[in-house]
Every structure is written in C-alpha cells, then in structure tokens.
C-alpha cells in the first residue's frame, strides 16, 4: 500500500512540476518595447542565421544608444527555433503571445517563413523577412526586405547575356521551392527572349549534395558545343563547396563557363577555400565591398560589436538594417507600435541602404533596391562588375509566370489585397477571411 501511495505521489508531483513550470509566463514590462528575433541558433541553418541574430542585437543596441523609440528602450527577445520548421511556428507564437513582442525580425528558409506565416496572420503581428526568396507571396503581416526574383535573378541573366554574350544556360539548383520558382521564372524569361529549349539545361540536386562528378561532366559537355554557356546557380549552402571544387578539378574556369550564384555571399565564402571560385559571379543587392560612407560606418560598428576583425557583412544583414530602420521610422511616424498603425505608416517610408542610396517600402510590402553583380576574389570579397542603372522595385508576383502574371499586390486602402487578380477583379489567397 505504502509503495502505491509513494508512486502516486511521485507521478502527481512530476505532473505538478511540469504544469507549474509550463504555466510560468512572462509578462511584458511596460517601460520597454519588445522586439522578437527569430533566427536558428542551432541546427543546420545556424551557420547563416546566427549572424543575423547578432545584427539585430547590434541594431537594437544602436537604437537604444540613440534614445530608444517613442521614449522607451527597445528590448530584444531572442529565441532559438533550432532549424526545425514546426518549432518556428511554435516559437513565433511564444514571441507574440507569451512575450508580447510588437514586431519580429527573422526566418531564413522559405519553409520557415511558410511555417510562421499563419501564426503572424492569426495573431496580427509583424514579421520582417530579410532573405532573397522566390516571391509568389504577399502577406499583410510580412515585410519582405530581401530580393524578389526580379531583384536578383533577372538582372543577373541580363548581365550574362548582354555583357558576356551567354547563349546557353544551365539552371542548376537544390531541389526546393526557391530554386524551382526562380528557375521557372528564368526559363520563361529566357524563352520570351528567344532562347530555344535545347539551349536550357535544368538540373536539381538534393540538399548537401556532395558528389558532383556526373553533373559537372554534363555541364562541361553542354557547354562545349560552341555557344557561350553560363551556369545560373541556386545551389544552396553546403552543396556549393564540392560543386565549385569539382568545376575547378574538371578544368572549367570562370572564363569558360561562369557560374552566377544567388546563394553565395561573403558569409558563405568565409567557410570556403575560395581559390576554385575566383572569377565566378554572384548577384546581390549589397556587397561588403560597396564603396559608400554609410557602408564603411556599418562595417566598423559590426566589427566593433562582434570584436572580431575578420567578420564579414552580407546582403541579408543589409536587409535587416533596412527593415529595422524602416520599422523604426514607421513607428515614429505612427506614434505607436500597434500593428495596424505600422502597416499603414510604413508604406512609402524610405531609409538609407548601405550602397549609398535610399530604399523605400512599396505598397506590396517589398522594397526598392539596386542590383549588383560581383566577381569572387581570392580574399572572399566581391569585385563589383555591374549594377543596375537605378533601383529595382520588388515584384511579389512574377510577370513571367502564367499563374501569377495577372496578380498584383497593394496593401493600401481601398484595395488592401495581397493577391488581386486584375482581369477577374477578385482578391483571393492570404488574409482573405
């Protein structure tokens, strides 16, 4: 009898402790404004996302040193979604419901954004998403400060065909939604410009693909048929090193078949042996080598903040820089951190970007940016070889896809719709209740 009571007590105790621990909820203090930082600090994406968490902490520090916002100090609430997609949604809910953050800066992969999107819409909070992505989305609650395909992929292809004279195209990517969409848009774009089917080769590989022998041999064969060939690479992260190494080993240099990448930036290069990459290209909206005073200041404060002279800056960091400043300006303009007020105020807000100009928030929740093409140098930096004449506004719905060319997005009243079909005059999709 005694023993049964004992174990009953221990079971109940365990349940009790669990409950007590779980129901401990933190209440927001009134004298600070809480800002959520939702980037993976562990797992596969930690490599890229940890830097962005640090960027946010630095920006918030700077804002506080300049007197905070609306007379209050900002407080960063950092959580770790651990590169686990369902956990992103859970942590987003925790940030908004438990911590009471007024805006969140975070997510990197498309799937993590898709995972948190319903949470931000349900709880009507704001997310600033800083990474280049596939488009085909415009949510009332999300601000896309990274590049849409027309701000990265299409100018890169223009550069290759106009400046380098490329006539044959290899579209190589990792098999997930960003490369799929980008390649689909590019394929449509190339065909619209008179490139024939047999001059386009499309190839998908799994995440972390390590054995590139056959694919590189195929590319080599494809590129040796007389016409100038280039590879447009949406190969993701880890798979890049073996890819470039194999290119180098099979004797393909950047002069023979240049590779233009959309996912290789300064941060990624710092983990590479760059020698096989020299001369290959990348298209971004920002490079650390951009010659602008504001960029020098940003780099200085970043080096000081991290205390590491060798740290680099990259494009998604600039996106956070722009997004954070836009949010600050919109909050000041609205005089409130209320989501609806900020949503109204932020459209049209323009803040300095790091390449010396201004970026503005468009009605479709995307921003205007310059597009730069850089060649990889042996020190892991980019030599800027080309840039668009002016700023390019992000296009949420690609004009080159049948499924979306009639769709526009405009979050201003009276339309207030992220998914408006101009031929049928119907608003559908996200946020439509």
């Amino acid at each position: 009898m005694l023993s049964t009571r004992n174990s009953r007590r221990s079971l109940a105790a365990i349940a009790g402790i669990g409950l007590a621990g779980l129901s401990l909820s933190l209440h927001a203090q009134d004298d600070t404004i809480k800002v959520g930082v939702l980037h993976s600090l562990s797992g596969t994406m930690a490599i890229s996302e940890t830097t962005l968490k640090d960027t946010m902490l630095m920006l918030i520090d700077q804002q506080n040193a300049n007197g905070g916002l609306l007379g209050k100090q900002l407080e960063a609430v950092v959580v770790d979604p651990a590169s686990d997609w369902p956990l992103f949604a859970e942590k987003a809910r925790e940030l908004i419901e438990q911590e009471g953050v007024v805006a969140t800066f975070g997510a990197w992969t498309s799937v993590s954004r898709k995972s948190v999107l319903p949470v931000f819409e349900e709880l009507d909070s704001l997310l600033f998403y800083p990474v280049q992505y596939e488009g085909e989305e415009s949510s009332k609650n999300v601000f896309y400060t990274g590049a849409a395909p027309n701000q990265q992929a299409i100018p890169a292809v223009d550069y290759l065909s106009d400046e380098i004279g490329v006539e044959r195209w290899v579209l190589a990517g990792t098999d997930y939604v960003y490369p799929r969409t980008t390649n689909k848009i590019l394929e449509a774009y190339l065909k619209a410009n008179g490139v024939s089917d047999e001059d386009i080769m499309i190839n998908y590989t799994p995440f972390g693909h390590a054995d590139w022998q056959s694919i590189v041999a195929d590319i080599k064969r494809f590129g040796s048929e007389g016409k100038k060939t280039a590879v447009v690479s949406t190969v993701n992260g880890d798979a890049n090193v073996p890819f470039y190494k194999e290119l180098g080993n099979q004797g393909i240099s950047a002069e023979d078949i240049p590779v233009v990448a959309f996912s290789v930036g300064e941060e990624e290069l710092s983990g590479f042996d760059t020698s096989p990459l020299v001369g290959h290209l990348a298209a971004w909206n920002y490079f650390m080598s951009v010659d602008a005073e504001v960029n020098d200041e940003f780099i200085d404060s970043w080096l000081e903040f991290t205390g590491d002279e060798d740290r680099v800056t990259n494009d998604p960091m600039e996106a956070h820089y722009i997004g954070f400043n836009m949010w600050v300006k919109a909050v000041e303009k609205a005089g409130s951190t209320d989501a609806a007020a900020v949503q109204d105020a932020i459209i049209g807000v323009a803040v300095p970007n790091l390449s010396g100009g201004y970026s503005a928030m468009m009605p479709n929740h995307h921003i205007t940016k310059p597009v730069l093409i850089g060649e990889i140098q042996d020190d892991g930096q980019f030599e800027i070889v080309w840039e668009t004449a002016g700023l390019v506004a992000g296009d949420a719905w690609s004009d080159f896809l049948d499924s979306s060319k009639e769709i526009i997005s405009d979050w201003r009243a009276p339309l207030s719709c992220g998914n408006y079909n101009v031929t049928t005059n119907v608003c559908s999709g996200q946020n439509l209740e």
Binding site: S115, E137, V177
Partner: protein, 373 residues
C-alpha cells in the same frame, strides 16, 4: 541478440501492482486533461491560468507521448529497436496534412478550388491519383491507419520472415526512413517538397486558428493517448502480450515451443505503426505544418531516447519520457540553446550506462526494495 539482463525485471512484477500503476496513470492523465482545460478557461490574470500557447504545446507533447508508446510497444515488449518510427508518424501526418490542404479549397494563394497551391505552381492540371479521396474525412481517418500500417506490414512481412533482427533490423528501419525523407523532398512526389504542407485553415468545419479548436485538439490528443494506452495495456495483459515478452527474451526458444514468432512480431509491429500514424495525424493540425524533415533519422532516434529515459517495458515510462524530455528541450532551447545537444548526448550515454530501465525502472526499483524490506 537476446538480452538476458532484461528477463527478470518485467516478469518479476506481479500483475496486480502493474494494474495499480496503470489505473494511477490513467487517473493522472484524465486529471491533466481536465485540469488544463479548466485552467485554460480561467481569466488571464489568474495564477493558475494556462495560456493557449501552453495548451498547444502540451497537445504536441501528448502526440509525442503516443508515438513513444508505439515505440515502447515494439522495443520494450518485443525487442525490436525501430530507428524508423518517425516515418510512420510522418506518414500519418502527411495523410492528415493532405486532408487539411484539401479543406483550404479556393482560399489558397492561386484560388484553385481543386489543386493545392504547390501543384498549381508546378503546372499540374489535375490531382494525382493518390490524392483522391483525401477531401473526405472518413477516408482520411481510414488512411491514417492504413498507410503506415500497410508499410509496416509489408516491411515486417519480408524482414521477420527472413529473420532479420537485432541491429540489422534497426539499421534497415533507419534506411527506410532515410529513403522516405529523400523521396518526400522531391517536388515531383506531389507532397510539396521541402516546404511540405502548410497554411491549414479548418478541420471538420472548425477553424484551426480558434482557441477552442486548439483546446479541442489538445483534449483529442489526450483522449487518444488514453485509448492507445488502454489498448496496449490490454494487449500486453493478454496471451499475445505474454508471447511477445517471451519472444523478446528468448526468440528461438519461443519458436521451438511452437509459437508463430513471425506472426506475433508482424501483428504488433503493424499495430505500433498505426499508433504512430494516429500520433502524426494529431500532431499536424496542432503545429500547422508537415514537411520531410519529420522523416529525418535523428527524429526516430530521439523517440527511442524518450522511451529509454522514461523506461522501456513500461508504457507509462514511455509517456513520462516523452513529456519530460520534450519539456526539457523546450526549456533548454529557450535558456541555453548551445547546451541542448550536450545535454541530450549525455542523457543517451548516462541512461544506457547507468539507468537501463529508465526513470520508471528507478521508481520500480525503489518500490520493490521497499516491498522486500
């Protein structure tokens, strides 16, 4: 690969006492479900208030607990260490996810009433055959059991008949979930590739975003755990359960006595996969996304650790392990993100070296030593 060390421990318990702990467990579980439901309805200022966030979190833990029971059923009582149970969990989740995708209807991004967004995007014009019927809930409910069950049945049919066992079986179950993960990552498979299935709206006409529905899902998970527990408990008390334990402890001897070892293994393995499928189906609407990451071999191994820590060979041990480790994970990843893998790794080593029967074994040991004195 018989493990002689396990023999006396489970058989040493007298049925009455194990029945007693079962009743105890069931009562605690019911108390938890009712308690949380009531506390959730309290005003937010109340000290005992349980937030909606917590309700969903607990609901998720409960589905993990169901999965842990499924793993314990084959590992703790049958001696089959499956390193691929997350595959059955994910398959159940995908079946549910398909139904939820169909429920979105024309509210998707592209407004297509029949096709989910990702299919419109891939330029597909009609639903693939394996999506047919997914708009009916009854059919979906059936499939949640059948899809994982059938896979487990086929897999087990071949494996057990050719007497693949021990570590070999563990490794091919791992290969199975790995192959499924690679397959589901492919966009051509028609399951949304890396992004998986997401942006769910409603289930059986209930809005998945409403707090009451969340509470309802939590209660459903709790009830499912209860039923699964009762089912497993009664099976283990039956003759089938006794034979299972006999197989675990001495497979060849059981076979020589005349039992059809393969059939017993196959039946329980299939049942276990179905239970995992139910867990997955309850998991998906609560977390709002299912993607191929759920098939990752690491996930399956983590489940095994919950069971090992809670105490395999006791059903309530598996549940305790699942709840405890996941609570620790939530806490650790919030407080010390870097330390979580160290803690998890150490748990593996310490439990296998020092606590082969897990926490439940510890409780039991204390009890039996007291009874002896």
């Amino acid at each position: 690969m018989s493990e002689t060390s396990t023999t006396e421990q489970t058989t040493g318990i007298r049925p009455q006492r194990s029945r007693m702990s079962s009743i105890l467990f069931i009562l605690t579980l019911i108390a938890l479900i009712i308690g949380v439901s009531v506390c959730n309805k309290l005003p937010a200022e109340h000290p005992l208030y349980v937030s909606n966030y917590m309700v969903t979190l607990l609901g998720k833990y409960l589905t993990y607990a169901i999965l842990a029971v499924a793993v314990d059923l084959v590992w703790g009582y049958l001696g089959i260490l499956s390193l691929g149970h997350a595959a059955f969990f994910a398959l159940g989740g995908y079946v549910m996810g398909m139904h939820l995708m169909r429920q979105i209807g024309d509210r998707g991004v592209y407004g297509n009433p029949d096709l989910p967004d990702f299919m419109v995007f891939l330029n597909w014009t009609e639903l693939p055959w394996y999506w047919l019927g997914s708009d009916h809930f009854a059919f979906t409910a059936l499939m949640i059991l059948l899809v994982p069950g059938l896979l487990a049945f086929l897999f087990g049919w071949f494996a057990f008949r050719s007497r693949v066992n021990g570590v070999y079986l563990s490794i091919i179950t791992q290969a199975l979930t790995y192959a499924l993960m690679l397959a589901f990552f492919r966009n051509e498979m028609g399951f949304g590739g890396n992004n998986g299935l997401t942006d769910f709206r409603e289930l059986l006409g209930f809005d998945l975003r409403s707090d009451d529905v969340r509470l309802g899902l939590f209660i459903a998970s709790g009830v499912a755990l209860l039923l699964v527990y009762l089912l497993c408990d009664s099976i283990l008390r039956s003759r089938l359960g006794k034979v299972a334990i006999a197989i675990r402890d001495a497979e060849d001897r059981t076979r020589f006595i005349g039992y059809r070892v393969e059939s017993v293994k196959l039946a329980l393995f299939t049942l276990s996969a179905m239970i995992a499928g139910i867990a997955g189906a309850l998991y998906v609407p609560q977390v709002g996304i299912i993607n191929p990451g759920e098939f990752a071999p690491l996930n399956s191994i983590e489940v095994v650790v919950w069971v090992a820590i809670g105490g395999r060979g006791t059903l309530y041990g598996a549940v305790l392990g699942a709840l405890g480790v996941n609570y620790a994970k939530t806490w650790f990843t919030g407080a010390f993100p870097e330390a979580w893998l160290f803690a998890l790794g150490l748990l593996f080593v310490v439990v296998t070296l020092l606590l082969p029967r897990g926490v439940a074994g510890l409780l039991k040991f204390k009890r039996s030593s007291k009874a002896a004195s």
